[in-house]
Every structure is written in C-alpha cells, then in structure tokens.
C-alpha cells in the first residue's frame, strides 16, 4: 500500500525530472524556474477547475499555457545567453522564478488556493490489498501515459530523431538544414508544459501556494542527480525510486522522510558520481 503511495508521489518526481532532462539534454540549460512553472501549473489548473468545473478541460489548457510561457522564456530570455557558458541561463531562470512567485502572490494572494480533487476521482477504491485513493491511481496512470507519450515522441517520430541528433551534434543538424533554433524553442516549451502538467496533476495531493515550487525543485534536482543528468530513463527510474524511498521512510521514521531522499542522493554520489544511468564524463 505504502509502495503504491510512493509510486504515485514518485510519478510526479519522474515527470518533473523528465521535463528538466529534456531541456538539459538538448539545450544544456538547467531550468531553475522549473519548480516555478510547476507552481504556476498548479495555480492555473486549480483556477480553471474552479471556474469551469471541468478537470479535463483544465488538464489540457494548463500545460498549453505554461508551455507558451516557456516559449516566451526561451525566445526572449534564454536565447540571448547561449554560448555564454552554462551558468548564465541557470542564473536567469533563477531570477525568473523570483518573479513568477511574486506574480502568483499578486494574482492569487499569499495564502494560495484550496486544492480540489475532481469529482469522479475522489474517494477510494479497493485495489485487492486494501483501499487506495482513486486520484492517486489516476495519477500513476496519467503519468505513465505522458511518459509513454514523450518516449514515443523521442524514439518513434522524426521530430524525436531531430531532438536526439541535435543533442548529439548540433552543428551537423544545422548543416542538414534543420532550423535548430526552432527545435530548441519547442523543446523548452515542451519541458515547461510538462512542468505545468505535473503541477496540475499534483495539485489535489498537496497545498497550492506560491512557495510550493521551491522544495519540489530541490527534490527534482535530487532525482536528476540520482538518475544521471540528461538520461530520460534515469529520470523516470530515479523519480519512482525517490518517491518510494520517501514514502517508505515516512511510514517507518516519519521525522526523517524529507532527509531520506537527500541521503539517497549522497549515497549515490559517493558510489556513482555520474548517477545511476549517467554516462561518465557527461557532467559538464
């Protein structure tokens, strides 16, 4: 039972780390505003759910909007910084997260919004070994679907081929006539859309407030470090692992729950500094 809770929690981590990893793998940018996009997604999701009452509608609209926000960010803020080293985009997105937090505070107040569980998904369901919240099952299924979708996009489509090729050698791809700037733009938007999507998916399971993106950013970094930077498989596996470790520790040693995932990271760093699925020397 606790294992399932862990997987539900872990699927959010996996999704966030996947978004981070997409952007990093392609653009070599660590999006420090990823947690802020997650937070914006949660706010927008709850807001749309509140005014329309339709969860599915807001589930589609929210990632579209955060994705657009991502497009604007890449085009006007991140793009001028390419070629200036890895630290500058990171610093810029850090500043952006400050601004996004304040914008949400101004718009929705510092208290945040009450989280709503969509009607059809509240209550519990018997999963054979006991009763489990319906929403969390939905969460697991939805993330699995999204992850499969991203996997399909990268592995099976032409677009994915360009992404992979661009990550391997952008010069060659440029020479082959692909407008790499456009691909980067779209990848950044996609990553931010996934962050927003994780925000709305996570919103019924946690409190929606302007600061909610801050701890989750640190946690998704842990996932990325454990999984190995730039490895989508690592992101997913490590996300689930971190979720399970967290919920197992909170079952047996509730006080140490937050610490446990960081200890996990420390152990992984000591044994494999490049992360579980990372390639040696791929750490910049």
């Amino acid at each position: 039972m606790q294992l399932l809770t862990g997987i539900a929690l872990g699927s959010i981590y996996a999704l966030l780390a996947l978004g981070l990893c997409l952007i990093f793998g392609m653009l070599n940018v660590v999006n420090f505003a990823h947690g802020a996009f997650f937070m914006v997604g949660a706010f927008l999701g709850v807001y749309f759910l509140g005014i329309t009452g339709n969860f599915w509608f807001s589930l589609v609209l929210t990632p579209l909007l955060t994705g657009c926000l991502g497009l604007v960010t890449e085009r006007f803020l991140v793009r001028p910084l390419y070629g200036r080293g890895l630290d500058y985009p990171l610093l810029l997105t850090f500043g952006l997260s400050y601004v996004l937090i304040e914008v949400m505070r101004v718009t929705f107040g510092i208290e945040g919004l009450p989280s709503i569980t969509p009607d059809g998904l509240s209550g519990t369901v018997n999963v054979g070994i006991g009763f489990f919240p319906k929403y969390r099952l939905f969460l697991i299924a939805a993330t699995a679907l999204i992850i499969l979708g991203v996997w399909f996009l990268i592995q099976k489509t032409r677009y994915g081929l360009i992404i992979k090729a661009g990550a391997a050698d952008q010069e060659i791809v440029k020479v082959l006539g692909v407008d790499i700037a456009k691909v980067w733009l779209l990848v950044f938007g996609l990553g931010c859309a996934i962050a927003g999507l994780s925000g709305i998916l996570a919103s019924p399971t946690r409190s929606v407030n302007p600061e909610m993106g801050i701890p989750i950013l640190a946690e998704s970094f842990v996932v990325t470090v454990v999984g190995g930077m730039g490895s989508p498989v690592g992101a997913v596996v490590a996300g689930l692992l971190v979720g399970v470790v967290y919920s197992m520790t909170s079952l047996f040693f509730p006080d140490l729950a937050e610490l446990s995932i960081f200890v996990l990271m420390a152990v992984v760093l000591l044994i494999r500094p490049q992360g579980l699925f990372g390639k040696a020397g791929a750490m910049g």
Partner: protein, 319 residues
C-alpha cells in the same frame, strides 16, 4: 580617475576599511548598514568560491545558517560568551563545508550547483526538525548580548553604532584574510582552475584538494557572517537556511561583479538598499529584485563594479 582606482585596488583592505568606517553615516539608518556589512561578507565568502574558482554553489545558506544557529545555540542553551559562540559558529560552518564540499566537488558544472542546493536542503531540514534546540519554524529566540567589557571599558552592544563597529572589526579581519588568500599562490591556483581545470591539473596542481580547501574557507567566512547576524538580530530565523538565501549570495555577487574584490559588497549594498526602498512602495520586492537581477544577467553579466573596472581597463589600453 584611473590612478585612484589603481590606488584603491593596491590598498584594497585599507580602502574598504576606511570606506566601511564612514559607511553608517551615509546610510539612512544603522540597521541597514549592519545588514549590508553582514551580507557583504556573506557574498564575499561565496564569491571566493564562485567568482575566483568558478564553482556556482546554491547551498551557501547552509553555512550562514550553521554559523547563526551554532552561535545562537551556544549563547541561548549553554550560556557561552559571545566570542566563544562566534568561534563555534565559524568552526561548525567550516566542518559543514568540509562535508558538503567533499560530496559536491565530485561533480562538475551545473551538476555542482544542483548537488549543493540539494545538500543545503538537508541542513535546512536537520535544523528545522531539531526543534528543541533550534525552535523549528519559529526560529531561535533570545540570542542576547547586552553589554560586556573590552579591556575594562564597558561596551553597550545594544547601541547600534557600537554594534556596527564591533561587527566591522570581524568583517575587516575577514576581508584582510580574503585579500591575503587571493594574493597568495593559492589564489593563483584558484584562478587557474577557473580558467581551465584540466590545464591546472596538468600543471601539477591538486585540483580536488584546492577545491575542497577553498570550499571550506568560503564556508567558514559565510559562517562568520551568520554568527554576526545572530548577534545582530538576537534571533535566528529559519529562513537563514533557505535556498532563496543562497540565491541572495548569488544575486549579490552577480549584481556587484563576480570575481572582483569589492563586487560582492557593492552588490549587497545595492540589493539591500533596493529592497529597503522598494518595500516602502510595495511588499512585492522579490519581483523587482528578480527583474533587476535578470536584467543584469542579460545585459551586464560583469556586474556594477566589474563593468566599471572593465570600462577603465579599455580606457587605459587605448591610451
């Protein structure tokens, strides 16, 4: 103009001491001056690692917090003298730096930033959970230093001017130490590592050990800033350990000019002053500070002091 700048940078410790000695008189009130002093030191400690060696840590709030908390705990729970308490804060932060540095220097680049941020969160949770010692969410209250004697002369620590100059005494020692480090062979190795790590290693320098040593030094200086802050505020807020606090050090260094000696102080002064002015108009100062920071990252990556210096440099070359 140029020669003045050269004079200042040749006697940078003396120059900063003289400037800081008159600093409280040009500030609107003393508490702001003290704050700038403390955060300037914090940013300077951070800049030692980031500006001079190119390691972007997002976990330096941990050292500010450890320094603050250990000093506070020493005074509140064990009734230590303030001098001993500061010493314990600095040593504690250095030990924290040794542990965090040991783990973090195994990684490079952006990875380093992520690992230090995550490790900083560990420290946050440890102090947050140790409620009986640290007061948890409410912070540690009652770090009181009223009056004491220096060489038989009674000193009133609650008088803001007196407090400023006592804190300045410690800050000047730290500034002198930083200046010495940068002028030493160690300082040269640090910059070599920043420019090209592989080449520095090929030249026979022990890159990993240098990184760790500088990490510890930087942590100790940030710990000192934390200790002084605990004495200044009389409380230790849990925010001291927050990663946004680490971000403040980063922002101050960038704003002022990373890798320059005075930059972090300039950055701290500008940012805290800005914060002070903006808060009188709106409580959403974070947005303003964030926007200013983004503006600098985009258009003035060298920061205020760094831009001034490079402008002068161009001037000098064309002569």
């Amino acid at each position: 103009m140029n020669s003045y700048f050269q004079l200042i940078s040749r006697h940078r410790v003396l120059a900063s001491t003289l400037f800081l000695a008159i600093f409280p008189f040009i500030m609107p009130y003393e508490a702001l001056a003290i704050n700038i002093l403390i955060f300037g030191l914090f940013a300077m400690g951070f800049n030692l690692l980031f500006g001079y060696m190119g390691l972007l840590s997002f976990g330096h709030a941990a050292f500010l917090g450890i320094g603050s908390y250990l000093t506070g705990i020493g005074i509140v729970h064990y009734g230590l003298g303030w001098g001993t308490a500061i010493l314990i804060g600095v040593i504690g932060a250095a030990i924290g730096g040794l542990i965090m540095g040991f783990l973090a220097i195994r990684t490079r680049g952006i990875y380093f930033s992520m690992v230090t941020l995550a490790l900083g969160q560990i420290v946050y949770y440890v102090f947050y959970k140790a409620e009986s010692l640290t007061g948890g969410e409410n912070g540690l209250r009652g770090v009181r230093v009223d009056s004491f004697n220096i060489l038989g002369i009674p000193v009133d620590f609650l008088n803001p001017m007196v407090k400023y100059y006592i804190i300045l005494f410690f800050v000047v020692i730290a500034i002198w130490l930083i200046s010495r480090i940068l002028n030493s062979p160690l300082g040269a190795v640090m910059e070599a590592i920043r420019e090209n790590e592989k080449r520095a290693a090929a030249c026979g320098f022990d890159v990993a050990r240098t990184k760790l040593l500088v990490f510890v030094l930087s942590a100790a200086i940030c710990g000192l800033a934390g200790s002084l802050r605990a004495l200044h505020l009389s409380i230790v807020p849990i925010d001291s350990l927050h990663y946004l606090q680490s971000g403040q050090a980063v922002m101050m260094s960038i704003l002022g000019g990373m890798g320059t000696f005075f930059g972090p102080f300039v950055g701290a002064a500008v940012m805290l002053y800005l914060e002070d002015v903006v808060t009188t108009f709106t409580k959403h100062w974070m947005a303003v500070v964030g926007l200013v920071f983004m503006f600098f990252v985009l258009f003035f990556p060298k920061g205020i002091w760094g831009t001034i210096l490079s402008k002068l440099q161009i001037h000098q070359d064309s002569k």
